[in-house]
């Protein structure tokens, strides 16, 4: 745990949070934020594609199906919790649920770097699961929000476009394809940029995310205690569901940890962009504060080791 806290990536996140809370005048240019997020998404995809090239395609079927199932179940559970216990209205509950059903690519990068540090191996195709899990929850969230809504017919074409051609999925899936087509040998020329610098770029991005997350902390008072509890409890529930799915899919303990973390993570790129257009009545302060202000830091600092422990325990219990 302490080991995790002393990772410079996590320390850079803390530096960003402190900068925001102390009102330092450190401001990263928006072009840097955009560049880093494009770089990280593309690099994750490329790396995943190279690994994927090494996996027999048959191995992918069961994990992919179970991941889709996770992407449908977790937002429904989240929605029920938010409506019944949290008393949120339909639009807010649906939008928040979509965020928690979807995934955070940066949290994915952090769990991979965590597993590399503790020396645990995992399946080469996990990046496919990242891409697969990103989408269904967003569709489920929109469907729930629009059921019996008076907002006029849902333009599915526009929405599918928004989701599949949003920058996040496009870069992840595109990178996956490029990496898979090119294969390991041809990627060597571009690997100093996309793989060698990856962890450093992640540290810089987390500095920025820390600043952004800290700006959300001010909103915590307004959004209330329930959301804080939800932002910690929901990832634990989803992480457990993800760990079970990983076990059921026959993944290794490392791969199970990855799937648990994916399930536990909450989106902050693809989901906010889609929800803002598809569910305009949902208040962005709620979903951004929960996802970025609570769940992201929780996962990055405490969650990942917990999901690793969950995965290890389940695997031990399952023999």
């Amino acid at each position: 745990m302490l080991e995790n806290l002393l990772d410079p990536i996590i320390l850079c996140f803390a530096l960003g949070v402190a900068s925001g809370l102390l009102k330092s005048d450190l401001r990263l240019p928006e072009a840097l934020y955009e560049t880093l997020s494009i770089y990280l998404l593309l690099a994750i995809g490329l790396k995943g594609g190279v690994e994927l090239a090494k996996s027999p395609p048959g191995e992918l079927v069961v994990p992919t199906l179970l991941t889709v199932a996770l992407g449908i179940v977790t937002p429904i559970v989240a929605y029920a919790v938010l409506r019944r216990l949290g008393r949120f209205d339909r639009a807010d509950a649906a939008a928040i649920a979509a965020h928690y059903g979807s995934v955070s690519a940066v949290t994915f990068a952090i769990v991979l770097s965590y597993l590399a540090r503790v020396g645990a191996s995992f399946e080469g195709f996990v990046t496919v699961l990242l891409v697969v899990l990103e989408i269904p929850a967003i569709a489920v969230g929109i469907l729930i929000a629009r059921l019996r809504s008076t907002q006029g017919p849902l333009r599915w074409g526009a929405l599918l476009h928004e989701v599949f051609l949003g920058k996040s999925i496009y870069l992840l899936a595109g990178g996956l394809l490029v990496g898979w087509l090119a294969g390991p040998a041809r990627m060597e020329g571009i690997s100093p940029l996309f793989f060698g610098l990856f962890k450093g770029a992640l540290a810089l991005f987390l500095l920025e995310m820390g600043i952004i997350a800290s700006q959300r902390v001010a909103d915590l008072r307004r959004t209330g205690a329930f959301l804080v509890g939800f932002g910690i409890g929901m990832p634990l529930v989803n992480g457990a569901l993800g760990a079970l799915a990983g076990l059921a899919a026959g993944l290794s303990p490392g791969g199970t940890t990855v799937l648990a973390t994916l399930a536990a993570s909450a989106s902050y790129i693809a989901a906010p962009a889609a929800m803002r257009i598809a569910v305009p009545k949902a208040n962005p302060t709620l979903y951004l504060t929960a996802s970025l202000g609570i769940t992201f830091p929780f996962n990055v600092i405490l969650g990942v080791p917990i999901y690793h422990w969950m995965a290890a325990t389940l695997h031990r219990m399952a023999g």
Partner: protein, 103 residues
Amino acid sequence: MSPRDPTKRKLVTIVAESALEGPIAKEIKRLGARGYTIVEARGEGSRGVRQGTWEQNSNVEFQVVCSEDSARAIMSSLYDQFYEDYAMVAWAADVEILRGDKF
């Protein structure tokens, strides 16, 4: 009228969250404006501070020179569609142009 006589038009300025860029551009053109200019912006208003640090808190500012009718139509249509749910403000002013047929 010679093309060089100054002519009266309206300048509509709209500041809105970046997510609305596409919908607003479409609406502006649908309602008769022949063009628009966009600049990146940040700011503060009734929905809090929008620092422009990432995609979820940045604004765009549209400037549209158009006829008085289009101006009226654009302002009320955007108002009806987006005002309640999105960070957005708009205002209109009188301007003079040199080439009446251009706008």
